[in-house]
Symmetry: C2
Subunit: 135 residues, 2 copies
Amino acid sequence: MKLLVIVSLLSFLTATAMQATEAQTSSEGYLVHTVFFWFHEDVSEAESENFYEELQKLKQIDNILHGWIGVPAATEERGVIDNTYDYSITFVFEDEAAEHEYQVHPDHKRFIETNSHLWQNVVVYDAITPQSSDN
Amino acid sequence: MKLLVIVSLLSFLTATAMQATEAQTSSEGYLVHTVFFWFHEDVSEAESENFYEELQKLKQIDNILHGWIGVPAATEERGVIDNTYDYSITFVFEDEAAEHEYQVHPDHKRFIETNSHLWQNVVVYDAITPQSSDN
């Protein structure tokens, strides 16, 4: 009987691990929110580092499924690559509603109020993964 | 003794499940490759649907950790949002080397050869997640 319980527990844990893996590859209906920030020319190194910390805090908002903060990579120079921005964020949400919750979240509003003086330009791309090939 | 083995197995599986969870939120050193495609005006609905299928095939290249294909979401209109593109891809790689492998992968080269006549503009952003707040 004890063995049965343990076997059940084992299969539960295996299923949990498999679900975690599946969540990484599923791709329908998600909202990918990508933002590029271009600083004013007079932004200092210290202000830039502080901004990075602010982005890390922003990424903690709890309905962000996946979050990456980026700076231009040193990949090969190609005409099609835009590497002129200072920072980027890529936040993935379960759906559009979750992204809207993020937009109105107090921590997000505070982030904008506290940091918007640093950027001279910001471009946002909200991309939704199609539910089927018909979309 | 048998119980000890089972307990060890349990803690191994728990650790594996935790690692799977951590992999989703860890964020250092990754390469986030984002591309926006703008079609020529005469691209048909059928060609657009076929292009989406081509992107889905592209996403199968095996060193892509996370991949999303997107179309502009119907999120609120704000001046900072660019929703003029036809398709986007967001592919996340373990590091810059993995992204380079993808660039030279035969399936990626074939994708470009087969589909590049559809787009009038393409913009690529290769963002790397800083290793520390000093970067």
